[in-house]
Each structure stands twice: as C-alpha cells, then as structure tokens.
C-alpha cells in the first residue's frame, strides 16, 4: 500500500508540473506591474484594456479566428467524406489512401511546411492567406478523420440499408440517417480542427504571407523583446477561449442529453 501512496503523490506532482505554469500565466495577467513577471504589485484589469487598444493584436485575432473557422469547416467536410469512403466502400488503393491521410501526423510540421512552400514556389504561387488555409487543412485532416472514422465504425450499416430499402436515395440517407448519428464526432472533429489551426505556430511561421500575423506568431514576435504583461493578458484570453468554450459545449451537451432521457 505504501507504494500506492507514492504513486499517488507522484501523479499529483506530474499534474502540478503540467498546470502550475498555466496557472501562473492566468495569475500574472492581472498583475498591475510594468513587467510581465513577479512580484505581483496589485490587481488590475489594465493590461486587458491595453490589449483591446492594440490594433496589431486585434488584427491577429481576426485572422486567426477566420482561419480557424474556415479550417474547421473545410477539414471536417473533407474528413467526413474521406472517412465515409474508407469505412463504407472498398476501392483499389484503399490502404494507401488511408495511410496518406494519416501520414501528416508523423511528418514533422517543419518538413510539411517546407514541402508545401517549395511546391508552391515551383508553381510560382506567392504566399497568401489561401496557402495558409490549405496548409492548416492538411494538418487538421488526419485528426478529423481519426475521430470521425472511430464513430462511423460504430454506426451499424443496417440503419443505412433500412433507409435505402424504405426508398431514400443515397444522398437522403446520408443527410437524414448517417449524418445525424455522426454529429457528435463531427462536432468533436471540427473543434479539434479549429484548435489545431488556432494554435499552430510551427508551420504558420513558414506559410504566412509577409505582414500578416496570427495570434501565435504575433506573440512569438512580441517575445523577441521580453515577456510583456500584455502577453499574459492575451494568454488569459486565449486560454479562456480555447479551454472554456469546449468545456462549456461539452457540459451543455451532457446537460441536455440528460434532460432528454
């Protein structure tokens, strides 16, 4: 039993290791000090005010948001179609396609970034928002496919066959039977895709058109000087957005599903 206590304490320590730094950022966001570190000189919202007035950051936020939404929509659509093809149909080269869809997970983003960049250079297409979008979609697709595929395997074929035998055409069957059953995975996948895009920096630094910034690259640029208190406030906003919204959505979904039953 003593070993078990040790294991418990150790686990608690690892959790502290994972969360203490995040907590520190959340705390320092309200620090009144001129500098982005300790000691804490008082509680204030001052850096949030400064943040709202910082146009570069607002612009970066807008870019990131649009990029994330578009990535989520496109990656999820392609992801659903790909999963359908992979799970429900068999075609020559299926294994290859499945491997290729998942492969980007194992390819370092740095290499992926350079690969796409050089491919476009070869086509003499300049860097653009569109390229950034394509890139983010490529990075997000494997995760969407994995999530949707896992769910699709669990949906029994009989439902679709029943719908077909009752006279629905394949399209109707998809939209009225398969898709509703798939919805939780679709949401999870879209959320996943959004966060992946919103958070990406490694590849974005390579792909972004000159002069345009997403939130992570903006923070990266600001870090060159020092950790300003504004970065802490920005960190707070980002954490609340990217952690709060999914948690809220998950909580609401659970609440409503409990109500229904």
């Amino acid at each position: 039993m003593r070993a078990w206590t040790l294991i418990k304490a150790y686990t608690a320590l690892v959790y502290v290791f994972m969360f203490a730094p995040i907590a520190v950022v959340l705390l320092l966001a309200f620090n009144d000090s001129q500098f982005g570190g300790f000691p804490i000189e008082g509680f204030s919202f001052r850096w949030f005010h400064e943040l709202m007035q910082n146009e570069a950051i607002i612009r970066a936020f807008r870019t990131s948001f649009a990029l994330g939404l578009l990535t989520a929509v496109i990656a999820t659509t392609i992801g659903i179609m790909a999963s359908l093809a992979l799970v429900r149909y068999s075609f020559p080269g299926k294994n290859l396609v499945s491997t290729l869809l998942i492969a980007p997970i194992l390819v370092p983003e740095t290499v992926l970034a350079v690969g796409l960049l050089i491919f476009l250079r070869w086509l003499s297409v300049p860097r653009s928002f569109f390229l950034l979008l394509v890139g983010h979609v490529i990075i997000a697709i494997p995760f969407v496919v994995l999530v949707v595929q896992a769910r699709l395997v669990g949906i029994r074929r009989e439902y679709e066959e029943a719908s077909r035998s009752l006279g629905a055409n394949p399209l109707q069957t998809f939209f009225q039977v398969t898709l509703p059953l798939l919805m939780p995975a679709v949401f999870a996948g879209a959320l996943f895709a959004f966060t992946i895009s919103f958070d990406n920096i490694t590849a974005t630094i390579f792909w972004r058109p000159s002069g345009s910034e997403t939130v992570p690259t903006q923070i990266f640029g600001m870090l060159r000087h020092s950790v300003s208190p504004e970065i802490n406030a920005l960190g707070f906003v980002m954490i609340v957005l990217t952690v709060g919204i999914p948690l809220l959505a998950g909580g609401l979904a659970r609440y409503f599903s409990r109500k229904q039953t």
Partner: protein
Amino acid sequence: MSFILVYSFYENVDLAVDVAAFQFSNWRELFTDDYYHYAIWKTLRMSIIVTALAAVLGYIPAYFIAMTRFRHKWLLLLLLILPFWVSFIIRTLSWIHILGNQGAINGVLQWLGIVEEPVAMMFTELTVIIGFLHVFLPYMILNIYVSLEGIDRNLEPAARTLGCTPWQAFREVTLPLSIPGLGAGCLLVFVLTAGSYVTPLILGGPDDFLFGNLIYDAIISELNWPMGATLSFALLLLLGLVVVAYSRMMGLNQLYKAFS
C-alpha cells in the same frame, strides 16, 4: 489533399537538386560539414533525452489513472486532454515565468532571503528539455493509459496468488503488456521533439538549436531554399527511418488508438 502532400515531398528532392540544375553540392555540404553533423547529433540526443524522461515521468501517472478506483477518474482524464487546448506558445513561454529572473522560483528564493540576486536558470538546454516535456507529456501519458486500460485487471492479482511480489507482478505481467502504448508514446514524442524549432527559439540560448532551427534559418533568414529543402528532406529521411524501424517492431496501429 493528399496528392499535394505526396507531391510536396517529391518536390523536395527535385528542387534541392533542380534549382541550379542537377547537382549535389547541398547534399555534399550536409554530409561533409561538421556543423550539420553536430546539429544532427544534438537533435538525436535531445530527442532521446526528452523521450526517455517523458516515458519515466509519464508511466506512473498513466498507471495510476488506469488502476485507480477513484470515482472521478473522468476528471483526471479530462485534465490530461486540457493542455492540448491551451495554446502551445503560451505553455512554452509560461516557463519564463517560473524559471526566469523575474520568475516564481527566483521570487520565492529572494523573498526567503536565500539569494540576493536572481539565479540565472533560463535559456539553457535544461529549460528547452523542460519546455518539451511540458508540452509532450500528455501524449505519452494518454498513449500508455490506453494500453494499460486494455489489460485485464485480474492478471496482476493472479500473478500475486502464484507467488509474485507486487513488483514482480508488475514487471512480468503489466509492463510487457503495456509496451505497445509505451512504444507509441515514445515514437510520438521522439518525432515531435526532433521536428521542432520553436521551443529552442523561445526557451533556449543561442547555442541550443535543433535540426529544425537550421531549416528555419535556411528558409526564413537566409532564403537559401535549396539548402532548406535538402535539410528538410534529410530530417524527413532520418525520422522516416525511425518510424520504419518502429513499425517493423511494433506496427503502427497502436498509434491511432490514442486519438480515438
């Protein structure tokens, strides 16, 4: 989409060789220049250190989560997934608040009067390792957890009744059965570490660079595209070898499990 992807990899080779006609000077530079050898060695070393530490640090929590009868186990799992949603760059820079000159540790030390001046802890190889561990540990724990969760819980007690000590039961039964998860976690952490360049830029000193930083320098700073392409392809090749060796030994299926 995957077409672009495949294509882009092919183009890598092509361009590295094609831009100034068909020549091998980039590759020759890579193979003969000590600077690149040093970078490769450094990257491998860093990746191995991070992977080993992550395995050691991650196994015990994964074991705890899998074996505990704690009622709110879901909470522990949720907490494991949460960090994925917190921005990578925020998590990385947060260590400056912990270890930096104005960080928490120095703050406490000075407040207690143990030191007068802040102790310099930032921008070393160690901070880079800590930064990597912090970001990649959840991957490791989740992967190990998934395979531990799949083990029949009666096996360890069975081993005990057959006369094993608890440690023996773990070593002879549970540990071997969890190897697929451990392996998948290690592969993931290794590949992720070896391919990054942002963490050393933020948390490392000027001397703490990885292979990825060379690619970044070649393309972003020096605009030396052919060299950047050569380096990228070399990195891909290197990690490809690791992945192939791994899949020969273990197969890649386990890797997908953790995500679903």
